[in-house]
């Protein structure tokens, strides 16, 4: 048997966990006084600095799946795992060049605000918020199920209890602290994660005399040259390109990421925050695959796959091997914070879509009074949080790995095209946007159901009707095509006239009002 305290509640693990919870709950308590108006609840009064927002963006973005998952994938599959690490960063330059500034200047609180700016508000709000909610729900399910299993592996807490702990904390942060508390949870998580991963890499490289090349010599001696060479992952170029499109443009269509650009004072700060975030995230993924290779060298395949088949425990095992129980306890708390922060961001984005887009925008025709909208936002938070707990528990034991990919391909197909065309294309119309969103959303869902991931693996049919596991490439272009064709068929004079105004606003910012 392997000698490890992984899977037990240790004193250090509990200590770091409680410390994190205590600090974040104290911040939430402090933030309650400043969570009364809509601007406070949705955007923390637009008072977040670029550096803070950069850290918070990384906190929102880096999930446990990409930390523990990629480290594990690299430790077991070598080079093929590295392809994923690279894929997770390439969406960020796209956000910087195309989305961040216009979004900040045109919109108010949500992604739908920006798409709807010059179009007919109501129908757009309904479709755009559906895009947001679908993305948020799938991602929430994937994260909750991941949270339950990972916390069980690390601390040995039963799955259901782990989900309830995560759910209750997540609801408390958003409900009482709104965007301000959410932001600080992200910042603390990002610092813990970057600090923990850096320490782990330093300890790993210390084993190899701080010679990066020495680490690779060790690995090739153990597992052969093939291990660090491109293998079988990209046998099918369609799958690879499809996944690439989902990661690249899906990142720029994630509602909880887009919402963060409203928390800074202006477009300049939004721009700077993407620069910081890209730096932190890139640095983090370089650390992550170094950790993966380190785990392969120091811990070894046998033990990694004995503890968990998918290799998810590679990073914690490496931490224990190099820094003992204390470091393992710390890394367990880091993993917990990582999981928690992502679901907190998602809950806030989902609740905002319900209260700002559907309640205030559609039901109240954009004339809801502020107190009621905040109340609606809080009720939505509670509802969405409880739903996440129920879904997390009912999806227990399901293979939800495909859901992370699905989230990104929905974000790339339903959210990104309409936002992009709304910002850059004068002749884009209300119906064009609606068709673009629904085409991307529905086609994506249908194709994933017909794909091997669901049709064969879950529904146990013999053959998949749709041969690819990543439908992103089809729904992404179909969404653009639908938007373009329908816009040509339904000319909208008002939207065209307003384009100039929108463009000037997106360039000059609010001062042009």
């Amino acid at each position: 048997m392997v000698n490890t305290t992984l899977g037990e509640i240790t004193f250090t693990g509990l200590f770091f966990f409680l410390l994190f919870v205590a600090i974040t709950l104290y911040i939430t308590y402090k933030a309650t006084e400043r969570t009364r108006t809509t601007t406070e609840f949705y955007t923390a009064r637009r008072s977040i600095t670029a550096l803070q927002n950069g850290l918070a963006l990384s906190g929102d973005y880096i999930s446990a799946a990409s930390f523990l998952g990629i480290a594990g994938l690299v430790s077991l599959k070598g080079f093929d795992g590295l392809i994923y690490a690279v894929g997770w960063i390439v969406g960020w330059p796209i956000i910087m060049f195309l989305i961040a500034e216009p979004l900040r200047n045109i919109g108010k609180y949500t992604f739908a605000d920006a798409v709807a700016y010059r179009l007919k508000l109501k129908p757009i709000r309904i479709s755009a918020s559906l895009g947001t909610l679908t993305t948020v729900l799938f991602y929430l399910i994937a994260q909750m199920v991941g949270a339950g299993s990972l916390i069980k592996l690390i601390f040995g807490i039963p799955y259901e209890i782990a989900i309830i702990i995560v759910g209750v904390l997540m609801i408390s942060y958003v409900l009482f602290g709104g965007m301000l508390a959410t932001t600080w949870v992200q910042i603390i998580k990002a610092c813990m994660l970057l600090g923990g991963a850096t320490l782990l890499v330093v300890l790993t490289l210390y084993q190899f005399g701080f010679n990066y090349s020495e680490l690779f010599s060790n690995i090739t001696q153990k597992y052969g040259e093939n291990f660090i060479q491109p293998g079988r992952l990209i046998e099918n170029p369609v799958e690879a390109i499809s996944l690439g499109i989902a990661l690249m443009f899906g990142t720029a269509g994630l509602p909880h990421i887009m919402m963060r650009f409203y928390t800074v004072p202006d477009a300049k700060e939004a721009r700077k925050s993407v620069f910081y975030a890209t730096g932190f995230i890139g640095y983090f993924y370089i650390l992550t695959f170094t950790i993966g290779f380190g785990a392969a060298a120091v811990v070894g395949h046998e033990i990694i796959s004995m503890i968990d088949n998918g290799g998810n425990m590679a990073a914690p095992l490496l931490a224990e091997a190099l820094g003992g129980g204390v470091f393992l306890g710390f890394l367990g708390a880091v993993a917990f914070a990582t999981i928690l922060a992502v679901v907190v961001g998602l809950t806030l984005a989902g609740a905002s879509a319900v209260s700002h887009d559907i309640y205030a925008g559609v039901i109240k025709h954009g004339k809801a009074d502020e107190k009621r909208e905040v109340k609606a936002a809080k009720i939505s938070t509670l509802g969405l949080g409880l739903l996440a707990i129920i879904l997390g528990i009912s999806f227990k034991g399901q293979n939800v790995a495909y859901m992370v990919g699905l989230t990104f391909s929905i974000a790339a197909s339903a959210n990104f095209p309409s936002l992009f065309m709304s910002i850059f294309w004068k002749k884009f119309t209300t119906y064009g946007a609606i068709w673009s969103i629904y085409t991307g959303l529905i086609l994506n869902l249908v194709l994933i159901i017909l794909s091997p991931s669901v049709w064969v693996d879950i529904l146990k049919n013999d053959f998949a009707i749709f041969p690819f596991r990543n439908p992103g490439i089809f729904s992404f272009f179909a969404s653009f095509l639908a938007g373009i064709v329908v816009s040509f068929l339904t000319k909208e004079k008002k939207a065209e006239e307003k384009f100039e105004e929108e463009r000037i606003k997106s360039i000059l910012g609010s001062t042009s009002d």
């Binding site: 960063i89 390439v90 660090i228 060479q229 491109p230 170029p237 690439g244 370089i286 463009r503």
Partner: protein, 99 residues
């Protein structure tokens, strides 16, 4: 006055430049990333060549792409903060004077 400035060649040129910079940098990022995928799919032998001890071209390229992605955002931000913002500030000033 505001209309006049916003319709001026100077402003239109600035808007156009911004679009070109944004789209060009986007295109570069797309080419870099999908180029990497292309190499992995079709040029495995090339990526497997060792260049630094036991580290091969594939691993090095992976790290380089992450770094270049960040550097591209850096290039954009330097352009936007130093050149673009200064011109925007000038235009805003003119508008405010006119009003």
């Amino acid at each position: 006055m505001k209309e006049k400035i916003l319709n001026s060649e100077e402003f239109k040129h600035l808007v156009k430049t911004k679009k070109i910079v944004s789209f060009l940098l986007t295109l570069i990022e797309i080419i870099i990333y999908f180029g990497f995928i292309f190499l992995i799919a079709y040029k495995k032998a090339f990526l497997s060549q060792k260049i630094w001890g036991d580290i091969n071209i594939g691993i090095t390229l992976g790290i380089v792409i992450i770094l270049v992605s960040w550097i591209l955002t850096g290039i954009y931000i330097i352009w936007a903060n130093k050149i673009y913002d200064a011109k925007i500030a000038l235009i805003k000033e003119k508008i405010e004077e006119g009003e």
